[in-house]
Amino acid sequence: MAAAVRIFLLVLLLLGPGGWGQAEPPRDSLREELVITPLPSGDVAATFQFRTRWDSELQREWVSHYRLFPKALGQLISKYSLRELHLSLTQGFWRTRYWGTPFLQAPSGAELWAWFQETVTDVDESWKELSNVLSGIFCASLNFIDSTNTVTPTASFKPLGLANGTDHSFLRYAVLPREVVCTENLTPWKKLLPCSSKAGLSVLLKADRLFHTSYHSQAVHIRPVCRNARCTSVSWELRQTLSVVFDAFVTGQGKKDWSLFRMFSRTLTEPCPLALESRVYVDITSYGQDNETLEVYPPPLTTYQDVILGTRKTYAVYDLLDAAVVSNSRSLNIQLKWKRPPENEAPPVPFLYAQRYVSGYGLQSGELSTLLYNTHPYRAFPVLLLDSVPWYLRLYVHTLTITSKGKENKPSERSPQPAPPPPLPLHVPQHLSSQGYIHYQPAQDRMQPHLLEMLIQLPANSITKVSIQFERALLKWTEYTPDPNHGFYVSPSVLSALVPSVVAAKPGDWEESPLFNSLFPVSDSSSYFVRLYTEPLLVSLPTPDFSMPYNVVCLTCTVVAVCYGSFYNLLTRTFQIEEPRKGGLAKRLANLVRRARGVPPL
């Protein structure tokens, strides 16, 4: 009897809250990963990824309770009717030639691009307010984003999340190459993480180690994703990524060994209690299963194999939620030791990389050149190149030349035909690859920059050079920065391409797999999507000498005083003869007194 009563009470308790018809709060989950990749040049790249997924439809429901998803970003999405937001702050440059294709590259400085919902009436107004709010949240000068550095790309950027249609008038893209990244940008970024920097992988985020690196990039990506396989409802995904490249030779005293403690000055102690998954992946591809060249300590319990960026890679996996991993010493310090020095072989060259430079002499004209390298032995593939050049470099589009292997390679100028809406989000419009595509929007002084987007076919095993000549404009004296002799920055070019894979990827559950596969899903597994950025360029403009107004005033006043004053004196003064004064001291004193009184002397 007592047991029956107890069971009844238990059932009542379980049904109670649900039984009244209250909706349960939307579920959210956090997955955190750290991928450590030794790079071919001897440096070590560490990439953090924190994915917070929230099963809530922010646009339709009124949300009052935020748990793992940060409130600052949730309110941003609902207030500005955002569909997607991508913000990155980067210091340094990813050298694709020596380091390989990156998981996710970002241009130097600050990059912000956003897709707005179709319900937004004034996209420019929302864009301006959004950049102001983000400048307050991330302590960056994003309020300098205005119409002079914002462009609306038409082909290079497609929505990375769910999208009904792709009307490019709801997309805005801006880059601030001059933006500095330092601890004040890392602090609010860390505060958005559910475990802040107290537990889990985020304890490794110490500013004085993270900024002592060759490349530091932190980013926030927000996009809507399907909640289930049938895609009946929408969830929001927030991805916070941080990539750093440590110069191992500096930190490792000449050896290529590394350890977590040496890189981050911290070790891992416990997973974030709020995390669903908390894993560390170490790339052990190049060195196979034998332990003769190198040794990873502590030995991994599992390994993971997948096709990442077109090649098959093997990773040693350390799962922090698995008690066996962190059991003994309560701290996990992953180390890699080289048993014998590796042979000096040429590092593998990625299939696509680019370089950009300014040439010319003097302060009147110059030439912008971009070199695109396709090192694949037999496959040619197209690349979408996006160039955004500030208005004060006046481009002459008739001088645009594209040459590959010495021959001219002009993209056809036919306008692209409208394509049927693709079932999955595509990142390079494949229907355009057979035709040419070129879109040019000229600059308007002080209002908008140049925008040049082209689809270029890169022949196999070739270098393609895209060059265009420009002339420098003279700015008004109030438009110069306080340090104009430093130069003015040109934002990096964006290259979007589907690069052929060495190994075909097997289609899997993209959302669940780690390691950035899920950020750029592609329907065709024989190639993978990559977005590369070139270096930002520094261009000197003719700068006036700002001390000249002061110099002119001084000089003019001196000349006027000397010349005119002398003439005036000559013309208006009368001359009198004065007798030399004779007399003793008394007379001189008396004369002094008389002079003081204003009376003629004796």
Binding site: Q91, K128, E129, N132, V133, S135, G136, I137, C139, A140, S141, N143, F144, R178, V180, V181, C182, T183, E184, T187, P188, K206, A207, D208, L210, F211, H212, T481, P482, D483, F546
Partner: protein
């Protein structure tokens, strides 16, 4: 045993009666305390910290501002109430041998940049226009909250400026200046709009005293690192970093502030003595004629910290002007709960002293009784 208890009780009452005058003194102090508690000067604290110099060789100005930021944060003012403006980035400058650090003492003893810094106005945003807009509150509507000075008429504001200056002006980023007249007018606008209760203005530049000569609004206290005609000098270079790390005046102010904690009773007169001519080479100056309170009654934490006035008591306190009732009740209060009022720092020392004196006399009497008993 009963006898001794009775005797000790009797002597305690005697001691109590002897201490009645002390008690009444304490009672009036409690009354003052209570009155002052409800007539408090300020309820919140803000800080506007500005570094106006650009370029690597002006590292010391950024270090100056960051050391004041560090002290102010340590003493309780949160980031949301601090507007920090740094005209150039020194920590992640390519010329900094230790990235993400700004040192104030040589041999890299103290990193004033820290791990938790939030800079509101950076780089090209630090202009005269933005500074005046922050002070007067006339900012565009799209400015985020962290970049606004949302003070009210009960706010105590600390304004610290450093950079290169001259007689009557302060240079911003080597391209524009703010004059002392503009600054005085901005403070008058703040007064008219009731944007501050009391304002402390500290400036560390050459000829800094010229910047506060023209103030005419009430409740402003000003300090400067040098008089008109004098230069403020820098403190010490560091061979690893390669530049001078701090200015002398702010270096000694930082050392002074490191001794302060949120409960300390140090007042402004101590701050005026901080850097004598022997250490600073220039003569620091101050101006208090516009300030209503006496500087010796003004605590450092009134401006540099964010100390909340909290009174914790287990007794009920009657605030009627009936002195008889207050005396007897407050005598009790003095012995039992007056000594636990730790947060009322202004009058607490006097109450504590009275308390301590009473207890000591009690103990001595008791000991006397006990020894006498043997």
């Amino acid at each position: 045993m009963v006898d001794t208890c009775f005797l000790s009780q009797g002597l305690t009452t005697l001691a109590g009666l002897l201490l009645l005058p002390f008690g009444s003194l304490a009672a009036s102090q409690i009354e003052d305390q209570a009155e002052q508690f409800f007539r408090s000067g300020h309820t919140n604290n803000w800080a506007v910290l500005v570094c106006t110099s650009r370029f690597w060789f002006n590292y010391r100005h950024v270090a100056n501002t960051l050391s004041v930021y560090r002290s102010v944060k340590r003493l309780g003012i949160p980031d949301s109430h601090i507007v920090l403006m740094l005209a150039d980035d020194m920590a992640c400058n390519p010329r900094n041998p230790k990235p993400a650090t700004v040192y104030s003492h040589k041999n890299m003893e103290l990193n004033v940049y820290g791990d938790d810094v939030e800079v509101d106005y950076r780089s090209y945003e630090v202009t005269v226009e933005n500074f005046l807009r922050v002070l007067t509150g006339r900012i565009p509507s799209s400015t985020p909250r962290s970049k606004r000075l949302l003070s009210d008429d009960r706010s105590n504001i600390l304004i610290y400026m450093t950079g290169h200056g001259g007689n009557g002006f302060l240079k911003f980023q080597d391209s524009e200046e703010i004059t002392n007249i503009e600054l005085a007018d901005a403070f008058e606008q703040m007064w008219q709009k009731r944007r501050y209760n009391e304002l402390l203005f500290i400036i560390d530049t050459c000829q800094g005293a010229s910047m506060y000569e023209r103030f005419y609004s009430p409740n402003i206290m000003a300090l400067a690192s040098s008089q008109v005609g004098e230069d403020s000098l820098s403190h010490q270079p560091d061979p690893a970093v390669g530049v001078h790390l701090m200015d002398r005046y702010t270096f000694y102010v930082l050392e002074f502030l490191e001794e302060i904690n949120p409960a300390s009773q140090t007042n402004m007169n101590d701050l005026f003595q901080v850097c004598p001519k022997s250490l600073c080479v220039s003569t620091p100056g101050h101006r208090t004629d516009l300030f209503q309170r006496d500087p010796k009654n003004v605590l450092i934490t009134d401006f540099f910290g964010s100390v909340r006035k909290v009174e914790i008591t287990t007794e009920t306190l009657s605030l009627q002007p009936d002195s008889g009732v207050i005396e007897s009740r407050n005598l009790h209060t003095v012995f039992h709960s007056g000594c636990t009022n730790l947060h009322f720092h202004q009058q607490c020392t006097r109450v504590l002293f009275t308390c301590w004196l009473a207890l000591v006399i009690c103990c001595l009497l008791k000991m006397g009784i006990l020894t006498g008993m043997r």
